[in-house]
């Protein structure tokens, strides 16, 4: 058992040492991923699940342009009186500021965008809502083609045109997983 743990630790250290040989975060870095992202609505007791993806390009070592899309899969309400989404998709594009230590990258982002929201139980109309996202996250680049990431995004949106008044649809959405990266410049 001790030997196995020792082997795993040695492997992790070797991976870490290998990862430190080359710094992958530099201008021209292109990265993308798709993952499953759980969310929590902040104005009602509703939990959501999205399929999310992003595409990002580093114009500087510490600055990138990034687009994110979230596609609603399903949601559950803890209170029967809370309304869940029937359909939703959210798309954002904006700028990210990065602070990195070797291949470990921490970042904050601001992205204007649009949300398409339909609360099926109370309205059959899809509301096209101006929206924005604030994102904080971290990534660790393990190789020139792979990185691991974790993001937490606050998305702000209000669905209008609903009988009885508008409905806020702010959410915290968490996403994490394996990402793909490629340096487009030498």
């Amino acid at each position: 058992m001790v030997r196995r743990i020792g082997t795993v630790v040695a492997l992790l250290l070797a991976l870490n040492a290998a990862a430190q040989e080359e710094i992958y975060i530099r201008p021209g870095l292109l990265k993308a991923s798709a993952t499953i992202a759980p969310g929590k609505m902040l104005n009602r007791t509703v939990n959501t699940i999205y399929l999310s993806g992003f595409l990002e390009y580093h114009i500087e070592k510490n600055l990138s342009l990034r687009g994110d899309t979230y596609w609603y899969i399903d949601g559950t309400a803890e209170k029967a009186t809370d309304v869940t989404l029937r359909n939703a998709s959210r798309t954002y594009f904006g700028v990210f500021y990065h602070k990195n230590v070797k291949n470990w990258d921490n970042y904050l982002g601001f992205q204007p965008g649009l949300s398409f929201l339909r609360f099926g139980a109370i309205s059959n109309k899809t509301s096209v809502c101006p929206s924005f996202a604030l994102t904080a996250g971290t990534s660790f680049y393990v190789w020139k083609y792979f990185h691991f990431f974790a993001n937490l995004s606050y998305v702000n949106s209000i669905a209008h045109g609903i009988n009885g008044g508008s409905m806020r649809a702010d959410e915290l959405i968490f996403s994490a997983g394996l990402g793909f990266n490629l340096n487009t410049k030498k």
Partner: protein
């Protein structure tokens, strides 16, 4: 269509791959961006704030004079019985009063014109609505926070005065009624924008 997408990708990769070369003055600089808008009040009434999203491009005329061409899509409530959607398309001239041409923070004054389409809709009956086309003038203050040679984050506050008939919604005996009143009015929106712009290149 595929050819167009390929051409856009090639153009994008070309501009991203090159350092920004300034030919003579800052005149000719062309940049593209997106922005978020907060409309803090409509027609003199606080509350019923609107949220918007839009895009803009800037074409700089001279070292201290720029232009901003924008489109905004803004939605907001009218109490809980109706909602409004505003589409703004327009331009502003930007004047930079400071001598330093490449500071980290570059404040500016702006003024310009805008064309608007406004649509008010009853929340309980989408066929009950009123729409209006109008023009507007706007003026305000802003600042670019230059994050890099090519990228800036801009914060702007501007007041937009509509020149046209006034439209508003009321609730009478439970029914939503829309009213359009003739005559110019000096009421409008106080708008706040936060946006980013990417400098594509120097056109002349």
């Amino acid at each position: 269509m595929k050819l167009l997408i390929a051409a856009m990708l090639l153009l994008g990769s070309f501009t991203f791959a090159q350092p920004l070369n300034q030919k003579n003055s800052q005149g000719g600089m062309f940049s593209l961006g997106v922005r978020t808008t907060l409309s803090t009040f409509n027609h003199g009434e606080f509350g019923n704030t609107g949220m918007g999203v839009g895009g803009q491009f800037r074409l700089q005329f001279a070292d201290h004079v720029n232009s901003d061409w924008f489109f905004d899509y803004i939605t907001g409530d009218i109490e809980d019985f109706a909602h409004r959607t505003d589409y703004h398309i327009g331009w502003s001239v930007i004047y930079y009063p400071t001598k330093n041409l490449t500071p980290k923070v570059r404040p500016y004054v702006l003024g310009g014109h805008c064309f608007d389409y406004t649509r008010l809709v009853d929340n309980s009956n989408a066929t009950n609505f009123m729409e209006r086309w109008s023009s507007a003038v706007q003026g305000g203050l802003g600042a670019h926070f230059n994050l890099s040679q090519r990228l800036d984050l801009s914060v702007v506050s501007q007041y937009m005065i509509h020149l046209g008939s006034d439209v508003h919604a009321d609730l009478h005996n439970g029914a939503v009624e829309f009213h359009q009143e003739k005559g110019a009015s000096l009421e409008g929106h106080l708008l706040f924008h936060v946006g980013i712009n990417y400098n594509i290149g120097d056109l002349w």
